[in-house]
Amino acid sequence: MSLKPQIKYIAAILVIIIAAGTYIALNQEKPREVVIYTSVDQIFSEPILDEFEETTGIIVKAVYDVEATKTTGLVNRLIAEKENPLADVWWNGEIAQTILLKEEDVLSPYSSPEAVGIPDAYIDPEGYWTGFGGRARVCLVNTELMDPEDLPSSIYDFLDEKYPADQIAIAYPIFGTTATHVAALYATLGPEEASNFFAALSMRDIRVVDGNGVVRDLVADGSIMFGLTDTDDSIGAIERGAPVEMVFLDQGPDEMGTLLIPNTIALVKDGPNVEEAKIFIDYLLSEETVGELVELGWFQLPLRDLEVDQEYFDANNVKGMTVNYVEIYGFIEQAKREMTEIFVR
Amino acid sequence: MIELKNVSKNYGRVQALSDITFNVPKGKTICILGPSGSGKTTLLRVIAGFEYPTSGQVIIGDDLASSPEYLIEPHRREISAVFQTPALWPNMTVAENIDYVQPLSSPTELLDQIGITALSDRYPNELSGGEARRVSIIRALLADKRYLLLDEPLVNMNPELKEIIHQIIVEETQRRGTGVLYISHDASELEYADKIYVMSEGKIAEK
């Protein structure tokens, strides 16, 4: 019995249907859309994107990053795609990688009218990116394991022998906001002092874990006394009822302050939907959206004169490091390499 | 005609065929005698197009069929074969195995003669060794190709059946004018041969 000729007819009909469907699909009027690449945790960014879509009718197509790739994945995707970009907007949960993308000629300048009120320190002088809303680096402590008078108050307390090394944790200082914090210390203290500090931490054999979230979890479940993490992670633990408290380090009058890490937003160069991208950037930078993100718990510091309902700390009284973010970025590669030498062994 | 010109076949350091030259004319029966390991099966596989020759040529009709760089696919060579094992397809019944090579609208006299009409609905794993071998022979004959290769087709058959089947092979191939290459280690099967060759250690010589 040979192959049935009916199969050939069915195949021909299928080809015709597929061809017709493709033709119809290609000739349909395309709805407005915008493509957002974001490193912001999906649980925070997705509601904002959904709301934008509902408000404007512009379809949002998002690409989220995952902690496992430490933002490196998405940034490298943007660089690799730059000759034919798919993305319209880059929304970053921090700043260093945004500056990198500017250096790699992935971004286009755009000055949003909604950026009024944001201090110059958080806006690129050439308009390639805008910072809005920030998180802060913070020390999360377990209140059941520590007395209030014994809480660390400075980054240097991490070297204090009175705190057992196996009770202290930081995330790998090679990725994410921890890497940015290291670079900020390089910029503030000088590379040698900063490098020596971390070398001493490594010598102490403090716990180095896979991310700020892990630090948070270890403090929350009492595995360690305290660790370095971000405000959003800390608040998450507080809201879940963990016996923890946030301590902002180096807040004294002569101390350096803690690092504030702004979110940044930028227009991708040659993206397919420029007008829609600008509408989205304006939307995200609006006071209303910033307020919403504070409420969601993604960031805690509006970075501009804005009334926010922050129940866990006084956002106006956090002393930030006096830093130039571009200078921080300049130290990132050196800092990452030296931290790899110190901690990956 | 199937023509072999200086055909050799190596497997690494092992020389399975060494400078073989002979031919199988259409309508004639050529027999090759030889002990096991002499290269008979390898010869068949090269002629059928399952293997490239290491050197030399196989020509079928007027066309180059095989050379070290060139090979016409087996099904385009007008060759049918009976292998050392029955090689019946286990997912098909006897009738379907035969239908694969030549659609049959009704049982033929040939099927009755060989005694396998009654086996039509059985699967290969439901046949005895002898029955399976008979089916493979009838399958090859009904393919009705110009040339037929037979690799020890009657091995392990009882003498009576051997005689019947041998007779059928001879009659059918003579009737159709098929060129036959018959390989055996039993000289008693060679009485109808037009030419006999002897094979040993990959080399061939006319007897």
Partner: protein
């Protein structure tokens, strides 16, 4: 006629290896202008120590898996008892469950265990190499046991029974059966070694530094894939050596065991000490399955949580399903074509396994570099993640189909080619039906592995689409909620079903 063979070869090589070849070529070109790049391939000092230390974990995990596979596999293949026959392949359904899901369960389990143990004054480590070893071993145990079982099944019964006439069963097992099955067991050891040595996600979860982390860290610092390519050369070389060694054993076993078997040896009389360690090994696998399912069930809490988790992730389920299904079809077709090549030389074995050995993010970057530049109309579509999973896992499909096809007499295929009247007749009526179990098993396995893939999928998934794995990872980072456990449970159950089909069909060809 050689051209007819060469063109498909070139197409397959370009499709599978084009992106990787491009990256390697780019790395070599950059090496001319950037001094010091080549030096990355020769680790010294800290990196050399890291590399040497990094080999400990995969060595320990692969040996453990191989030993448990050797013991448990023999029990599951040769035991007559109904209980073992029923649950034989059930053990293996967790094979494609990703290690991060095992990490979720075992981290909770060890923490709970420590709460009990602290009463007696001690506790188990919750980080470091111990947890990495535990999680990786549990994750890859089914793979090791499965391959060991296939190894035992390829041992020819008459050969074993002949030996049993002359020596006691334990000696026959050690001297005849294990050596004959060892190539498959060694293959399992090799595959597990490669999967562990190229992974950094589990070790970094437990603060255990490995060389793969160095590679990724360099990528993060330089944002230059050429740096990572050169830095990963030692790992690639090591994995290739292991691969060639382990696959050589597989290749030889398969080629020498072309006779299909319909029965396994039964009624062994082993000494009680041996039976005990067999049962212990099988129990370890059972623990792995029970703890995986139980841990996730407990974490999920109730069906309502599961329902809400599934509802929120419906789109992601569809995307994962599409990638899995089409990746399986493409991978299955390519695997079928490549399986025919495996008999022609060892080089093909090495070639198909390179994408498995390289870090998954390298595959993703290669795809972006090639397709966004030269095929932009294809880039940004669902074709990209489908290609990514195909490239990564085609080796698995190829080897499954090849090993199963070797249980069929090759002469049947040759006869079909000889007698066919139409071009596709041999393929449709003989070759595919006789290999249907291998093809179905490869298909199901591909779906399962593709659904759980993260590293390369993340880099090429089209905007607006997200896989279930990406969503799970995002929620894991946020804080291991009930929803995460519910989604993980869904992934596990889906993968269990698919693996169950794969292994059931793989060994179902008894009549052939």
């Amino acid at each position: 006629m050689r051209l007819k063979e060469t063109v498909p070869k070139i197409f397959i090589v370009l499709l599978l290896f084009g992106p990787l070849l491009y990256l390697v070529a780019d790395a070599f070109i950059q090496a001319f202008s950037e001094t010091g790049l080549i030096q990355l391939a020769f680790p010294v000092g800290r990196r050399l120590n890291l590399l040497i230390n990094s080999l400990t974990l995969p060595t320990l995990v692969s040996i453990t898996v191989a030993v448990i596979g050797l013991l448990a596999g023999s029990l599951l293949v040769y035991e007559d008892a109904l209980v073992w026959r029923w649950i034989k392949w059930g053990f293996l359904v967790t094979a494609p469950v990703p290690p991060y899901i095992h990490a979720l369960v075992w981290s909770s389990t060890i923490r709970m265990l420590n709460n009990l143990l602290r009463v007696y004054g001690f506790s188990l480590p919750v980080s470091g190499w111990f947890m990495s070893y535990l999680v990786d071993t549990m994750a890859y145990l089914p793979l090791g046991v499965g391959l060991a079982m296939v190894g035992y099944m390829l041992v020819e019964t008459p050969a074993v029974e002949a030996a049993r006439l002359f020596k006691e069963d334990i000696r026959v097992f050690m001297e005849i059966v294990v050596p004959l099955a060892s190539p498959m067991i060694l293959a399992a050891l090799g595959f597990v070694f490669i999967l562990v040595v190229t992974d950094y996600s589990v070790p970094t979860l437990y603060s255990y530094n490995v060389y793969s982390l160095e590679v990724f860290s360099e990528f993060s610092a330089s944002n230059n894939s050429a740096h990572s390519v050169w830095l990963s050369m030692p790992i690639v070389l090591i994995t290739l050596i292991v691969l060639v060694f382990s696959l050589r054993g597989l290749r030889n076993t398969v080629q020498s065991s072309s006779i299909s078997r319909t029965e396994t040896v039964s009624s062994w009389s082993f000494p009680s000490w041996f039976k005990s360690i067999q049962i212990l090994a099988a129990t370890i696998i059972l623990i792995q399955v029970i703890f995986l399912l139980g841990g996730l069930l407990l974490e999920t809490g109730n069906l309502t949580s599961l329902y809400f988790a599934v509802e929120a992730a419906t789109d992601d389920l569809v995307v994962s399903g599409v990638i899995g299904l089409f990746g399986a079809v493409l991978g299955g077709v390519l695997g079928y074509v490549l399986s025919a090549r495996l008999g022609k030389g060892g080089l093909w074995w090495v070639l198909i396994s390179i994408p498995l050995a390289l870090p998954s993010s390298i595959v993703g970057i290669g795809l972006i570099d090639v397709y966004s530049r030269w095929l932009p109309w294809l880039y940004g579509t669902m074709a990209m993640p489908i290609l990514a999973v195909t490239i990564r896992f085609v080796a698995i499909a190829t080897i499954i189909i090849y090993t199963q096809s070797k249980r069929v007499d090759a002469l049947l295929f040759e006869a079909a080619e000889l007698f066919k009247k139409e071009e596709l007749q041999a393929l449709w009526r003989v070759k595919m039906p006789l290999q249907k179990y291998g093809i179905a098993a490869a298909f199901a396995a591909l779906i399962a592995f593709s659904v759980g893939e993260l590293g390369s999928t993340l880099l090429v998934v089209p905007p607006g689409s997200e896989t279930l794995t990406i969503r799970i990872f995002n929620y894991l980072h946020y804080g291991g909620s009930e929803e995460v456990a519910g989604l993980c449970l869904l992934v596990v159950v889906l993968m269990m079903g698919l693996t169950g089909i794969a292994f059931k069909t793989y060994i179902g060809d008894r009549k052939q």
